[in-house]
């Protein structure tokens, strides 16, 4: 594409505003910084976190060139958020740490969101103690950073199976409106139900959380909630439902990006459960068919075995389903053949 430079000289007069009322002189703006920041924010809003991180880094370097403390703080934080969103917890932690040091050097206050990024990065890196310490420090914050810190505390409590702390975090979340915060509450409710051993309730709450995450455009969160629902389904004995949920979670994680390892694990689990469920349906169908008197149920179970086996490409089960169907159809086929002979006769 050609580089077009628009130099409509008369346009410059617009700024002068000949004959227009006098305006207070505007504060000069660093165009390079503003434009890199705007582009980064736009890329972030489009879900292009790779590109957003690259552009935030450019903007941050410009802010450093300007030695603009406030912009360095904000852009360092934005860069860390973009890195977290692309699944790079370690670089996000490093960026947040250097931003914190930069603010300290200038005796500027460390804002809550920056601490939240650090806590979240530590949580993702498996440093539960570090994440807990930072999130606790934020828990009294009345803003959204405090609410998200409570959610993080709830997740940490669920991971260590601490039902009381989980309930406390869930209560502290309160009734903030918006899909994002409702999803946080639903997810903590699901984790609490799971700890109580109420797996059907956990599954229901995880599915509700996944719907809310979708509404909030948080697809990685949605996939995580679906995987939680799959786990609850498997624990309550619904292998087929669990396989379907794991498949949905894994596929979403794979396509949305940033969760490659989780996607692989969820898809593998979906395949394992689907094979197991297909085998169970096959055995149920065969047993019903051979026992007789349950033709409709046998047909439905074999169809389910076929659907699941087809999903995972299990040729052996598909062949067995076909063989059983041929056996079931045999008397029927003989009858049709007799009718055909009669009709020809």
């Amino acid at each position: 594409m050609p580089l077009l430079l628009l130099a409509a000289g008369a346009m410059a007069l617009a700024a002068c505003g000949g004959g227009r009322r006098a305006m207070a002189p505007a504060e000069p703006v660093d165009a390079e910084l503003a434009s890199a920041r705007r582009a980064a924010a736009f890329a972030f809003a489009q879900g292009r976190h790779d590109q957003a991180a690259q552009l935030y880094r450019q903007a941050l370097e410009r802010a450093q060139a300007r030695d603009d403390g406030e912009a360095i703080g904000d852009l360092g934080y934005d860069l860390a958020v973009a890195q977290l969103r692309r699944g790079d917890a370690a670089p996000a932690l490093a960026t947040a740490g250097s931003t914190r040091a930069e603010l300290a050097r200038r005796r500027l206050p460390v804002f809550a969101e920056l601490v939240l990024v650090e806590a979240t990065a530590l949580y993702r890196l498996g440093d539960a103690g570090g994440a807990q310490e930072l999130a606790r420090g934020l828990a009294s914050d009345p803003g959204p950073a405090g609410a998200r810190a409570q959610f993080l505390l709830g997740l940490l409590a669920a991971d260590r199976r601490d039902a009381a702390a989980l309930e406390s975090a869930r209560t502290a979340l309160g009734g903030a409106a918006g899909a994002e915060w409702q999803a946080d509450r639903a997810e903590l409710s699901a984790r609490a139900a799971g700890l109580r051993g109420d797996h059907p309730a956990a599954r229901r709450d995880f599915v509700a959380a996944s719907d809310l995450r979708r509404d909030a455009l948080d697809y990685p969160g949605m996939a995580r909630a679906l995987a939680g629902a799959a786990d609850a389904a498997a624990r309550s004995g619904d292998a087929r439902g669990a396989a379907d949920l794991y498949l949905r979670a894994g596929r979403s994680a794979l396509l949305a990006g940033g969760q490659a390892a989780a996607a692989g694990a969820w898809l593998a689990e979906a395949e394992r459960l689907a094979r197991g469920a297909a085998d169970l349906y096959l055995r149920a169908g065969r047993s019903a068919l051979l026992a007789g008197g349950q033709a409709a149920a046998a047909g439905a179970w074999l169809a389910e075995a076929e659907r699941l086996a087809r999903g995972v490409g299990d040729r052996a089960i598909l062949d067995q389903v076909a063989a059983l169907r041929a056996r079931r159809l045999k008397p029927h086929s003989r009858h049709i053949a007799r009718l055909a002979v009669r009709a020809r006769g």
Binding site: M1, P2, L3, L4, L5, L6, A7, A8, G9, A10, M11, A12, L13, A14, G17, G18, G19, R20, A34, R37, R38, A39, A40, A41, F42, A43, F44, A45, Q46, R48, Q51, Q54, L55, D74, L75, Y77, D78, V81, L84, R85, A112, E113, L116, V117, T120, Y123, R124, G143, P144, A145, A147, R148, L152, L155, G178, E180, W181, D218, P220, G221
Partner: protein
């Protein structure tokens, strides 16, 4: 590519690579578009001193120009106002195509191309600026805490 208005050159569109496919045609279209906006300002009776302001996209001048094209300057003010609003929305969709409303309304997905050179023409009508500000991401503020997701 000169931008001519009544025989006078009032501006110029410069092309770095004029041999590129479609570059001249595109520049002509841009020049014509700007020329029309200059003309609207001239018809507004503001004279050469205000031509620049109008060329940059004075909304009133544009609306009057649209009205004169349809030969209905006598249309009630409310109708002209509606036309102006429609024109503003249409221009916002075309010019600010990357904006969420515009792109979604036309079923296109706005994209960011990091390594492509592009030209942006921004008309600075007050209405358009207000709309653009509404649609653009809040670049002057840091990302909200809700974007930090465990």
């Amino acid at each position: 590519m000169p931008i001519r208005l009544e025989g006078r050159c009032v501006g110029v569109v410069c092309l770095e690579d004029w041999k590129a496919d479609g570059a001249l045609g595109f520049a002509r279209a841009v020049a014509s578009m700007l020329s029309v906006r200059f003309a609207a300002a001239m018809r507004d009776g503001a004279g050469a001193s205000r031509a620049g302001a109008a060329a940059a996209g004075d909304a009133d001048a544009t609306a009057r120009h649209e009205a004169s094209d349809h030969d209905d300057m006598s249309a009630p003010a409310a109708l002209r106002g509606m036309r102006r609003a429609r024109l503003g929305a249409a221009l916002a969709r075309r010019v600010e195509g990357a904006g969420a409303g515009g792109a979604a309304a036309e079923g296109r997905r706005a994209q960011v191309f990091g390594h492509a050179t592009v030209a942006t023409i921004r008309f600075t009508d007050a209405g358009l600026l207000a709309q653009a500000a509404e649609q653009a991401p809040a670049a002057s503020r840091r990302q909200p805490a809700g974007q930090v997701r465990p």
